[in-house]
Amino acid sequence: MVEKEAQGLPWAARLGAKLWLEAKLRQDRPKTGGRPRVPRIWPTDRIKIGAVQWNAEPVKRARDWSERVAAVFRQAAHAHCHLLVFPEYLPLSLLGAIMPDSAAVNTLTNPTIRSLLRIMSPSLFRHWRGWMAALSREFSLVTIAGSGLTLYHGQLINVALGFGADGRLNLWQPKWHPLPVETQWGIVKGPETRPAIVKPWGLSALVCNDATYFESFRMVESMGARLVAVPIADADARYTPGKARRGCFSRVQDVPMVGIVAASTGRLFGLRLTGKAGIYVPSELTPDGSGIVAESCHAVGEELITGVVSLSQLTRFQEEHRIRFPVPAPSFVESLYQFEEEP
């Protein structure tokens, strides 16, 4: 532990950076209280969904970030969306408020990034959570707020949050399968807590690389999920359809659900993020057999895509699929996972 600390920033520098960030964030506190702007009648079948493709480049002022997030909420409300999904690492752009205009920030070493994330994440998390709750309430939208880093029992984890249209937190979903680069930044595997499934739609969330594993989708689907939001931030400078189709798109073909991908894109501290926002369903449920309800046009830049899905149609399809392609016998699946997890 001492060795790890020694490789990162000195404690005084970390403390200074944290206090500076908190001072910047205090200049743009979210509004609290008040009634939701629009009383809504909530559908139980046909849901209009908005998925955000977000330009994650660092912002100079905290207000720039909150104004852009609010603009997306406004756009989704005008489009009569019921559900709005934001991407992975939404709050990280706020670090731009304290980062110097220097190429040096693009070449930080992993130990430095690790110590910065540990010290900054709780403040960013609180700020992000506060704003997303306030805006969900103001625009009366059910929201998957993307994901952010927080400390859980002293360890850094990546967590997706969901809010009801009243602004109350109703979903907390840790990333179960972090990428190797995240592990180098000190992010650990999310705890084995029961996934949250929000009624009445059966809304769940899985974070980015969790969509590489059909097991994640099996778990939430068996608990009643019908909509699964997947915030992503792919640090892959070259976007190709093949690599993009390996995640949520493929998983909802394997385990029938509505998959909603929200993507962070652009340059963020040396990373080049690409990805498209998309709404995906089993191919049998789209008239052209593509499995794509909506998808953004370009793999970088900012865009809100929207689409309507029918939950009753999906439920019927899920039931038929379970009969045609049942989960193998318990003894088979049980024996499949009889090995030790890698640390």
Partner: protein, 202 residues
């Protein structure tokens, strides 16, 4: 590197040298004696599949029966081939992702399956099984293609066309390259058996 010939003709062509494995997907029940002598003559392993009922019969390069291993799951069969395993599955097996996962964890490096008609190869369950498990997939039948992990494909589509060879198709499969992909993008190492058992879906 395994050199594979995919026979596309309705009749088995004259044996061709230089192939490690010959695959003949057809619609009729194979006649044992005929194929056994063909395999012995060509000195290639031969897999004859009946796409109509899913039966697959194997013959060794010596012309003897090439029996499947006890790794068989679903309706598929698994054979030992060049220090790896290869499996022949039906489409319905591929719609259950646990089956391909089990095979890949057991060491299967190539999955052969009848390709269906899809608007895009990304909708083929074999392509999905290949990407999810970092193995090769050989789609036989109406739309033949080699599926491979995107990391092994310069276009990153994970789809390679097969090469024409007479009226048939051929492909070279580097099973030994799979280890490098599995290390570079460690999907298997990320599996969380405790988590899955805590929230079991079975």
């Amino acid at each position: 590197m395994a050199k594979i010939l995919l026979v596309c003709q309705s009749e088995l062509p004259p044996p061709r040298p230089g192939y490690d494995l010959v695959i003949w997907p057809g619609q009729n029940a194979p006649s044992h004696s005929r194929f056994r002598s063909w395999a012995g003559w060509s000195e290639s392993a031969l897999l004859v599949g009946n796409l109509a009922d899913g039966t697959v019969i194997g013959y060794s390069p010596q012309g003897t029966d090439w029996s499947g291993t006890d790794l068989a799951v679903g309706l598929g069969k698994v054979w030992r081939f060049q220090h790896h395993y290869i499996a022949w599955l039906q489409q319905s097996d591929l719609r259950v992702p646990e089956i391909a996962r089990a095979l890949s964890l057991a060491g299967v490096g190539l999955i052969i399956a009848d390709s269906g008609q899809y608007a895009s190869p990304f909708l083929d369950p074999l392509w999905r099984a290949v990407q999810a498990n970092q193995v090769y997939g050989l789609a036989v039948g109406s739309s033949p293609a080699l599926y491979l992990p995107c990391e092994l494909d310069s276009e990153e589509s994970g789809v390679l066309p097969l090469n024409p060879d007479g009226g048939d198709l051929s492909v070279e499969v580097a099973l030994e390259h799979l280890n490098a992909v599995q290390k570079a993008v460690p999907i298997r190492q990320g599996l969380r058996p405790h988590l899955y058992k805590a929230h079991r879906w079975w």
